[in-house]
């Protein structure tokens, strides 16, 4: 369990193997508890809520690592909370994870300054060591709070859940299904340009026909993308049209975003 927490914590920052993604982390925790299917079910539900959380530029999004590990422990473990409750509890935990990421980015500064000294001295091994130490700290960032929360007695949680009024329990169930909209909105917000909005509505309209599978919709979208990018009037690949209009604007907007972040 603690190994999973460590890996998730590290990956929540380096963003490589994606151990911090709920669909991976929750399943692994479920596996460790002998309930892989419960873990995977929670992971899939949580994944739909967290996929829009991305660390772009210098900004820090809520961190799913701690949230995924702990809620899976509570849902697939002895506390046996329902999946919806796990999804709701993930929100405050993701916020704690975000704070810990922000905090560590400050706390790590002395360590980086030590790397400067090592570089001046030409001590390359020390630089490597410092980097590995910081990776360790990133893992502990999730491991320590996880260990703390896991030591809560399961009875308390179960009892706490049964103490909740029915209104809240029902409301949480509704929210677990509705919270996905924030993720969608975050993704859309990072990519939408005036010219691309029509494709969003096209996708929406086509998807209301249940006969089209997700894969089929994916194929349609790729076909549209290939056509759109090749279209001379839009991308300016033609020699005499107002050239390169669309690519340049997206590039400029992307650059602006990067600059905003700094």
């Amino acid at each position: 369990m603690l190994i999973i927490a460590f890996l998730a914590g590290l990956d929540g920052v380096v963003d490589e193997w994606q151990f911090q993604q709920p669909i991976v982390a929750c399943t692994l925790v479920g596996l460790a508890l002998g309930q892989p299917l419960t873990g995977a079910a929670l992971g899939a539900s949580l994944q739909l809520i967290t996929f829009g959380w991305m660390n772009i530029g210098t900004s820090v999004a809520p961190d799913p690592a701690l949230a995924a590990v702990i809620t899976a422990w509570w849902v697939a473990g002895t506390a046996q909370l329902p999946v919806e409750m796990g999804v709701i509890l993930a929100l405050p935990l993701a916020w704690v994870g975000q704070l810990s990421t922000l905090g560590l980015r400050q706390l790590i500064i002395p360590l980086v300054n030590r790397a400067d000294q090592a570089a001046t001295a030409g001590d390359l091994h020390r630089i490597s060591r410092l980097q590995v130490v910081s990776a360790g700290l990133q893992g502990l960032r999730t491991l320590l709070p996880a260990a703390l929360l896991m030591s809560l007695p399961a009875d308390w949680l179960t009892a706490g859940y049964h103490l909740l009024p029915a209104v809240l329990r029902g409301g949480f169930r509704v929210a677990a299904g509705a919270l996905v909209v924030v993720s969608f909105a975050m993704v859309i917000n990072t990519m939408a340009t005036r010219k691309l909005w029509p494709f969003f509505f096209l996708g929406f309209a086509l998807a209301t026909d249940q006969r089209l599978s997700l894969l089929a919709l994916g194929m349609i979208s790729i076909a549209l993308a290939v056509l759109y990018v090749q279209w001379p009037n839009h991308t300016g690949s033609g020699p005499n049209s107002p050239t390169g209009k669309t690519p340049e604007t997206t590039d400029d907007e992307a650059l602006d975003r990067e600059l905003d972040d700094f």
Binding site: V112, V181, V182, A185, T208, S221, V229, R257
Partner: protein, 275 residues
């Protein structure tokens, strides 16, 4: 940009593999004033060891790579590749100053991150997430996580290795190749796919249904949701999503949106509007 016919100091395949291995920890020492600086230096160390034998040269090289750096982590492999080729030329006697090398890094990092963030985080991860989640939620259990993990990492590792090799072999020519706008086209296409798929997933994945029953003179128990579905299925989720986009656009923090949706859900359930 003529590459010297015979370089006395070159990186071995082992060095390149070591650098590739290290690239997986790039962001671990993320810190505020200088961002990924230590990470980049850490990745360069096998090259510094190979190319510079004097301790003084190693020290200046390490210091050179500890300046502020930040990009999209997977694109860093391409920048690393180009930087490796520059370092190699410098070690073999070409007149390249610290400032020259840094200018190339800085020039590439901003523009690459800007055009590739939408591809990786905005398109590939959400779509793969949703696809994997749909496998699990439709009863295929463990297959979802496996598909997610395996596909993501094959693509990621493959891309990183290819980008580092390409950057190393072609050096500064890479910048010219990118200047043709190929990346911008890729980003445009990916954003289109991403937006289309976001639209497509809304009616399928957002569960928001209205509860009230309408009672008319002729008919009793006509559900409001059924009426809405005849108009357009998923209309409510669509409106909710567009509302959130509008709020995000006006700089409302995502965390408050989550709290807001939670609050409204409880309120809606309490009033008996949502089920």
């Amino acid at each position: 940009m003529a590459t010297p016919k015979q370089l006395s100091k070159t990186l071995t395949l082992g060095d390149q593999l070591r650098i590739f291995g290290r690239s997986g920890l790039e962001q671990a020492a993320w810190n505020y004033p200088r961002l990924q600086n230590l990470g980049f230096c850490y990745i360069m160390i096998p090259a510094i060891k190979r190319l510079y034998t004097q301790r003084m040269d190693q020290a200046t090289a390490a210091t050179r790579h500890l300046v502020a750096f930040n990009t999209m982590p997977y694109m860093q492999s391409l920048i690393t590749g180009v930087t490796l080729s520059l370092e190699e030329q410098r070690a073999n006697g070409q007149a390249l100053t610290d400032a020259d090398i840094n200018a190339v890094k800085v020039g590439m990092m901003g523009s690459l991150a800007g055009v590739t963030d939408p591809v990786w985080w905005g398109t590939w991860r959400p779509i793969l997430s949703a696809f994997a989640a749909s496998l699990t939620l439709s009863g295929l259990g463990i297959l979802g996580p496996v598909v997610f993990f395996v596909s993501w990492n094959i693509v990621r590792l493959g891309f990183r290795w290819w980008a580092q090799r390409w950057g190393y072999r072609h050096g500064l020519d890479v910048i010219q190749d990118l200047g043709t706008g190929i990346l911008q086209k890729l980003t445009l296409g990916a954003s289109l796919v991403g937006l289309f798929m976001m639209g497509a997933m809304i009616p399928r994945w957002v569960k928001l249904t209205l509860k009230p029953m309408l009672t008319t003179d002729h008919q009793t128990g006509y559900s409001l949701q059924t009426l809405l579905n005849q108009l357009l299925p998923g209309l409510l989720p669509l409106v909710a999503t567009l509302g959130c986009v509008w709020l995000l656009h006006h700089r409302v923090k995502p965390f408050w949106l989550l709290i807001g949706v939670l609050g409204l859900s409880i309120l809606g359930y309490w009033l008996g509007w949502l089920a």
